[in-house]
């Protein structure tokens, strides 16, 4: 209907022509051919759905891998999901995590304001590693609300070894060296 009645009528005429004019033997072959295609597609779908296709999609979403990810933020690089919290601690009014990307596979630090009284705080997330520049630190520019989080750039090289951060009533320039995980 979108293309108008003329095209619709033409399509119907074309389909009718094939149905009517196809020789009987050719028609039988066509029927079997379609049957075969259907079986093959069903088989292919069965095989495909038995594999972790979601993983392939997630991997494809990442725009970097390994060293290429150094210094990039995990969310913009497509590395944030799926990710694992390898270490977690609960300093006052906050959650401090070392996060690990499943596919990139990089590390970063995340600090979340979880204050039970609903107060906003400044926050900092610092990731330490063993080669220059030795750390990434991300302070929040202003107080962040409860359930807001700051996270550092991600790092693959230099064996990231510690995540540090907390929330506070005043600005935290960083780098933070306590509290940390592990």
């Amino acid at each position: 209907m979108f293309f108008g009645n003329t095209l619709d009528k033409g399509l119907i005429a074309f389909q009718t022509e094939i149905t009517i004019q196809a020789p009987r033997k050719f028609g039988w072959h066509m029927y079997k051919f379609k049957y075969l295609i259907a079986i093959m597609l069903a088989t292919l779908m069965l095989v495909l759905t038995s594999f972790p296709i979601g993983g392939l999609v997630n991997r494809a979403l990442a725009t970097c891998s390994g060293y290429d990810c150094d210094g990039q933020f995990p969310d913009s690089a497509g590395c944030a999901s799926p990710a694992t919290t390898t270490y977690i601690a609960y300093p006052a009014s906050s959650v401090l995590e070392m996060r690990h990307s499943t596919y990139c596979p990089t590390y970063w630090t995340r600090t979340t304001n979880t204050d039970s009284l609903g107060r906003s705080f400044y926050a900092n997330a610092t990731l330490w590693f063993s080669v220059s520049p030795y750390y990434y630190t991300v302070p929040s520019g202003g107080p962040i609300d409860v359930n807001q989080k700051v996270f550092s750039q991600q790092r693959y090289s230099g064996s990231p070894f510690s995540s540090c951060g907390y929330v506070n009533g005043s600005y935290i320039a960083g780098p933070v060296s306590s509290p940390c995980v592990p």
């Binding site: 088989t43 390898t86 270490y87 592990p182």
Partner: protein, 245 residues
């Protein structure tokens, strides 16, 4: 006709075999890479706990003779307590558990320490830190099946460690840096929570805020409900009584 059928059947079988082999090879090469950076780092003996609550436990008090592992199976999630120890200012516990789904983001407790507690009948304290032991467990197909964690509870030197109890009230996925606000709002609406949220996303910053909530609901409750809308949760509890005789 029989000849045609034989050819068609043969072609289908060959296609199936080729597809299977190709995908098997592809998935083998797409297994998550093994990362050894932080997994082998030693757990420090102590951490800055100026703000953490402590319960009183006498230093060097021997733990009761418990036969490990202690196993709890709740809601199809098997959890094993492999062992406990008093290490300086901490009571530690090693716990393994299987994942309810093929998702590497599951962990015990999650974004709140109150879901993992240690009690001695008189006092209850929340976990202070957890660290993954080794790597996430996978099966032969690369599916994520479980993990083990080293838990640390801050203690102080004057308490009875007999009849201690470790409780894990739930396991949950961790929220991503990229918040799916639309899906979370849909969950809240479907549960008729009357909570509205708004997500923010910037370089190094993310999360959500509750923009409206029902009258009479306190902010902490609204935040907890909204936070859970971003997660998958399996409720326990898994309870381990450390009262070995």
């Amino acid at each position: 006709m029989k000849k045609h059928l034989l050819v068609l059947s043969g072609a289908t079988i060959i296609l199936f075999a080729i597809s299977f082999l190709a995908l098997k090879i592809a998935t083998q090469h797409l297994q998550p890479m093994t990362v050894f950076a932080s997994s082998h780092l030693p757990v420090p003996e102590s951490e800055d706990l100026s703000v953490a609550q402590r319960i009183a436990v006498p230093t060097n008090t021997p733990l009761p003779g418990i036969v490990y592992p202690l196993v709890q199976n709740v809601n199809d999630v098997k959890m094993e307590l492999l062992g406990t120890a008093l290490m300086g200012d901490y009571f530690t516990a090693d716990i393994c558990y299987n994942f309810p789904t093929n998702d590497p983001e599951w962990m015990i407790g999650g974004m709140s320490p109150e879901f993992v507690t240690l009690s001695n009948g008189l006092e209850t304290i929340s976990v202070y830190s957890m660290g993954m032991i080794g790597n996430i467990k996978t099966d032969s197909n690369g599916n994520y099946t479980g993990r083990c964690d080293h838990l640390k509870f801050p203690v102080s030197p004057s308490t009875n460690v007999n009849n201690m109890r470790i409780s894990v009230s739930r396991i949950a996925t961790t929220p991503s840096e990229v918040m799916d606000c639309k899906a979370a709002q849909k969950r809240l609406d479907e549960a008729n929570q009357r909570i509205k949220i708004n997500c923010t996303q910037d370089a190094g910053l993310g999360g959500f805020v509750v923009t409206s909530k029902p009258q009479g609901m306190d902010e902490h409750t609204a935040n907890s409900i909204a936070s859970d809308a971003f997660l998958d949760v399996v409720q326990g509890p898994w309870v381990f009584d450390l009262n070995g005789k």
